[in-house]
């Protein structure tokens, strides 16, 4: 129910405010009514047929870097 997945925007229909997104191999039509300034190749979070938000590539990198840093084994163990 609450699942939402990141998908890549493949094409946008400005007229209807709809977009085709790719979820891995699968293509899906979704609504862009809840988001702004979406461009082709952006990643958006998809939930019940709508894009909820854009996924920030910069922030994703920072989070991955944070994992790597937290996982560094500095001391005894």
């Amino acid at each position: 129910m609450c699942l939402a997945l990141p998908a890549r925007v493949v094409s946008i229909d400005e007229q209807t405010d709809m977009a085709i997104v790719a979820l891995g191999e699968i293509k899906k039509e979704i609504s862009l009514a809840l988001v702004e300034d979406v461009q082709i190749d952006d990643f958006v979070l998809i939930h019940v047929g709508y894009a909820l938000n854009k996924v920030s590539p910069e922030e994703a990198e920072l989070t991955l870097a944070m994992f790597a840093e937290a996982g560094l084994v500095e001391r005894d163990s």
Binding site: S31, F43, V55
Partner: protein, 373 residues
């Protein structure tokens, strides 16, 4: 898939697990509640608990929208289909939830009721367009994530002049429920549950932002970390909570910055505010009446409100005897504490709502964790 696989790396998970173990104080207990069913599901699916020390316990909260909807509201939806003869549209997860007399929307459908499963509110609008001589009601449920799509549908119906479309609104609000878990009088009756910190929901927060939790963490002096849904997100967030607890801090931190900002999605918030307003109080399964915890359609859009269009009585229905969902939803009991768990009640034949949705605690225990406990 991008933004999924990188956040499931096993190698990193093991390293993070080691760090968590090192930083957990062996002399204290860390009870961390994940409010959201999506986290419960991820924790079980990826076996996150197995990687973490014994004194760190996940407490599964009430954040599964299917699980918290009271039976009476499902009875109402059933009546709409059977007595008012509407086309009732709803999300798939609602179909199998047992209502009074062990009825469910799926059974109603099998008996000839016109119940249709939709993937999106746009599908419900399409059904209304295609059936101009029938009343079409969208049975709307869900937290802040699922509310904006309902608001969009109502605005769209108005723009198109769709006269046969209405919404039976059951949208609920996360911050009100989290607060209720800590302060309501029932907490005393059900026995104490100590929660040391909260994982904030991922996708709800993408809409409402991290700001609404600030009051809560200050008021209750509990740390909140907004966490993504992937296993590494959950582990990193657990580490951030542990650090706050160890240092005696209680702040709102955000691990899921790739999607969640402090302000949230302002466009979605504005759409919801235009179409809906707060209900003075709403019944939650497991929590009882929670003040200002749900939304209803406001007077400007009341022609699309099924509660105005049809007679929808308040129904007091009780849960199946023996079902511990209310206590489980509060984190007071575990699914395995329920006598019906796995014997009478299974995902194929659910007795209570926590067993229906894969995000429910009982279903998650059954599907992934039953051998552990």
């Amino acid at each position: 898939m991008r933004y999924v696989e990188e956040f499931r790396s096993q190698d990193l998970a093991l390293k993070l697990a080691r760090t968590i173990k090192r930083e957990c104080d062996p002399d204290r207990q860390y009870n961390l509640m994940e409010f959201c069913g999506g986290h419960t599901h991820a924790i079980f699916r990826f076996g996150v608990q197995d990687l973490l020390p014994e004194n760190l316990r996940f407490v599964h909260g009430p954040g599964c929208p299917v699980c918290v909807l009271p039976i009476g509201r499902i009875d109402n939806a059933i009546h709409l289909a059977t007595e008012h003869g509407v086309i009732l549209c709803t999300y798939g997860d609602m179909m199998r939830v047992p209502a009074s007399g062990r009825k469910s929307l799926l059974k109603v459908k099998a008996e000839g009721g016109d119940v249709r499963m939709v993937y999106s509110t746009l599908d419900a609008l399409k059904i209304a367009r295609e059936n101009p001589h029938r009343e079409v009601v969208f049975f709307a449920i869900g937290f802040e994530t699922t509310t904006p799509p309902t608001a969009v549908a109502i605005k769209q119906a108005q723009a198109e002049g769709l006269k046969n479309f209405s919404v039976f609104c059951n949208h609920v609000l996360t911050p009100a429920a989290i607060q209720n878990i800590l302060e309501s009088p029932e907490v005393r009756e059900m026995g104490p549950v100590t929660i040391d910190g909260f994982f904030g929901p991922s996708h709800v927060s993408s809409i409402i932002g991290s700001r609404p939790y600030e009051f809560f963490s200050e008021e209750f002096q509990k740390p909140v970390v907004i966490a993504g849904f992937e296993p590494l997100d959950v582990m990193q967030s657990a580490l951030m909570l542990i650090r706050q607890i160890n240092e005696g801090r209680h702040e709102v931190e955000n691990e899921y910055t790739r999607v969640v900002s402090r302000e949230g999605n302002l466009k979605a918030q504005a759409l919801v505010a235009e179409v809906m307003e707060l209900r003075r109080s709403f019944e939650w399964r497991g929590l009882g009446l929670v003040p200002y915890s749900a939304l209803q359609i406001n007077s400007a859009y009341e022609t699309f409100d099924a509660e105005k269009r049809f007679e929808i009585p308040a129904i007091q229905a009780s849960d199946v005897k023996g079902c511990e969902c209310p206590r489980i939803l509060r984190g007071v009991k575990k699914p395995t504490d329920c006598q019906l768990f796995g014997t009478v009640c299974t995902p194929e034949n659910p007795m209570g709502s926590c067993m229906v949705s894969s995000e429910g605690a009982c279903a998650a225990y059954w599907s992934y964790g039953r051998f552990r406990h």
